[in-house]
């Protein structure tokens, strides 16, 4: 992959340097969920509130990469959706470069982009068409995307002869590269990566991780990486947070976490922090799967 610098127009920081990139304070989110067992009037399933995020607080400096580690249902995706203005919160606050993510969402949307576990494209449209469509929403006219889209696709390692091919014919790895290109095309100052390498083959996974490293070193973007890949978190992030059942129970550099929990590896630190191994799940986790 070539230098990322060429394809990402660096954008001036949208607030004074003293303002943190992300400031989350006591952020809460709850969902109503149907109970599979309890029945109410006319046999309807009873509903109950389940907390997806419980008073989560953290701050991110500009240019920092923070990895949030957590199992399925820990609330990682809920956190990403809240920061990308796709969910409304039930309490607390979240500010992106000083803008309230809920009261000033239109300002936040200009600064943020996201890559999720599912690449999510119009499957019958080509990579070029999908990127063009997405770019228009960020005010990029055809005159701007005509050269920029082929350039950015080349830089993420996407073969030139497949740019006109429908997305449904591309592998998962290829689709995820296009998803990264889509996010970077709009030069976000906050990049939210929600399990971007989950389900990829080892080679594609390494390519995507290498690309994230390049973004870190060449572009002034702040990156929030949600993952359940411990090695990925340790390799890519400045700090690691452990999110467990909606609670951020630990936050620090990988070394600090290992020291804090007297652990040799991040996996051991996770075990010590949560009281469970990384793979272990219980019925409550299953119930929380909806937040993944």
């Amino acid at each position: 992959m070539q230098a990322v610098e060429q394809m990402t127009t660096s954008r001036e920081a949208p607030a004074p340097r003293s303002v943190p990139a992300v400031e989350v304070v006591d952020l809460r989110k709850e969902f109503w969920r149907k109970s599979g067992r309890d029945r109410g009037f006319l046999g309807r399933q009873k509903r109950r509130k389940v907390a997806a995020l419980k008073s989560v607080s953290f701050t991110m400096d500009r240019g920092e990469t923070l990895a949030i580690l957590g199992q399925n249902g820990s609330g990682k995706s809920t956190l990403v959706r809240l920061l990308s203005t796709l969910l409304l919160h039930d309490g607390g606050s979240a500010r992106i470069f000083g803008h309230d993510a809920f009261a000033d969402s239109s300002a936040v949307r200009k600064l943020v982009n996201r890559v999720s576990v599912e690449a999510s494209f119009f499957k019958k449209m080509s990579s070029q068409e999908n990127l063009a469509y997405a770019a228009r929403f960020y005010g990029m006219p055809p005159s701007q995307t005509r050269d920029r889209i082929p350039e950015i696709l080349t830089n993420v390692g996407f073969p030139a002869d497949r740019r006109g091919e429908a997305m449904e014919n591309l592998s998962r790895g290829m689709q995820q590269k296009v998803a990264l290109a889509r996010a970077l095309l709009t030069s976000p100052v906050l990049l939210l990566l929600d399990e971007p390498t989950t389900g990829l083959d080892p080679r594609s996974k390494l390519e995507v991780q290498q690309f994230i490293r390049e973004i870190r070193t060449t572009h002034d973007a702040t990156i929030l990486l949600c993952t359940h890949d411990l090695a990925e978190a340790e390799a890519l992030a400045d700090r690691v947070g452990i999110l467990d059942r909606g609670e951020l129970i630990a936050l620090g550099s990988a070394q600090e976490l290992k020291r804090q929990y007297d652990a040799a590896t991040l996996e051991e630190a996770f075990f010590a922090a949560t009281g469970r191994s990384f793979e272990e799940e219980d019925p409550e986790d299953e119930d929380r799967e909806v937040f993944a």
């Binding site: 203005t85 469509y133 960020y138």
Partner: protein
């Protein structure tokens, strides 16, 4: 990359509006053979309605068959036109949710009215082209004689009515946000209810009083009446003013109501986490 100021913001939104139209055009091209199949279905459906005119004559009734078939043809074409408008609006949410792109669209710095208006622009342009072709094909099939027809006036009435249809389309677009499973079908219910009180194949005077009252607030009533007058009697735009001004009034009210209903639906979806892909 982001331009600032009012002019910059307006330019940004204009480009975004073009993006919505562009996306629909890409999808039209990719599904062009399905569009042909859908056109054949619409033509066949229109034929079944228009043949009623011939059928009435065969029972021995004395009717002006040419006039009756033209009245039925206008009703059937407007029915299919409304179907396209509502379908494209409902798909604004339903299709994007299916593909999983809805979260990317809804987190983009695109104003929702512009997003919906872009859908409306494509829907109206596509709907008018299709409606014109269906009308021409069926009229040729029956050899309908329309010596006085003022097609330009009919198109003006349809264009003005489309403002209201876009507003109502915005209201139906919210349904898949509230119910991902059944919301799309409810859009067809709205289409049927509007046309049944609007005299789609009959004069509204045959309706019960309460339905006739409802016809006064339905834009389809004025659209059908105006278009029929233009095609059958050659009515000019000036003489159709009695149908055009209610369409303008309903349109001016329908657009902001549609935007507000969609906004509330979007807030509901964001509150309850209904934007993410399902299915």
């Amino acid at each position: 990359m982001m331009t600032t100021g009012v002019a910059g913001a307006a330019r940004h939104q204009a480009i975004a509006l073009g993006g919505v139209v562009e996306r629909n055009w890409y999808l039209f091209k990719r599904y062009v053979w399905w569009e042909v199949a859908f056109f054949v279905w619409t033509a066949a459906n229109t034929l079944t309605i228009v043949f009623i005119g011939k059928g009435v004559e065969s029972t021995g009734a004395t009717v002006d068959v040419n006039q009756l078939t033209t009245i039925l043809l206008v009703g059937a074409v407007i029915w299919s036109y409304l179907g396209i408008i509502f379908e494209l609006f409902v798909e604004t949410v339903a299709w994007e949710r299916w593909e999983g792109t809805i979260e990317y669209t809804f987190m983009a710095p695109l104003s929702r009215p512009i997003h919906l208006f872009g859908t409306g622009v494509f829907a109206v342009a596509y709907g008018i082209v299709r409606a014109t072709i269906v009308f021409a094909v069926i009229a040729a099939f029956f050899g309908l004689d329309m010596p006085n027809a003022n097609f330009a006036a009919a198109l003006v009435v349809l264009a003005v009515a489309s403002i209201s249809f876009i507003g109502i389309g915005m209201m139906t677009a919210v349904l898949p946000l509230i119910s991902p499973e059944k919301g799309t079908q409810i859009g067809y219910v709205a289409q049927g209810l509007m046309l049944v009180v609007s005299g789609v194949y009959y004069p509204v005077s045959v309706l019960p009083d309460w339905m006739e009252w409802l016809s006064k607030i339905s834009p389809a009533t004025y659209a059908l009446r105006g278009i029929r007058a233009a095609i059958l009697e050659g009515a000019s735009i000036g003489s159709l003013w009695g149908d055009i001004w209610p369409l303008i009034v309903i349109g001016v009210a329908a657009i902001p109501i549609g935007i507000e209903i969609f906004r509330r639906g979007e807030l509901h979806a964001k509150k309850h986490g209904k934007l993410k892909r399902s299915g």
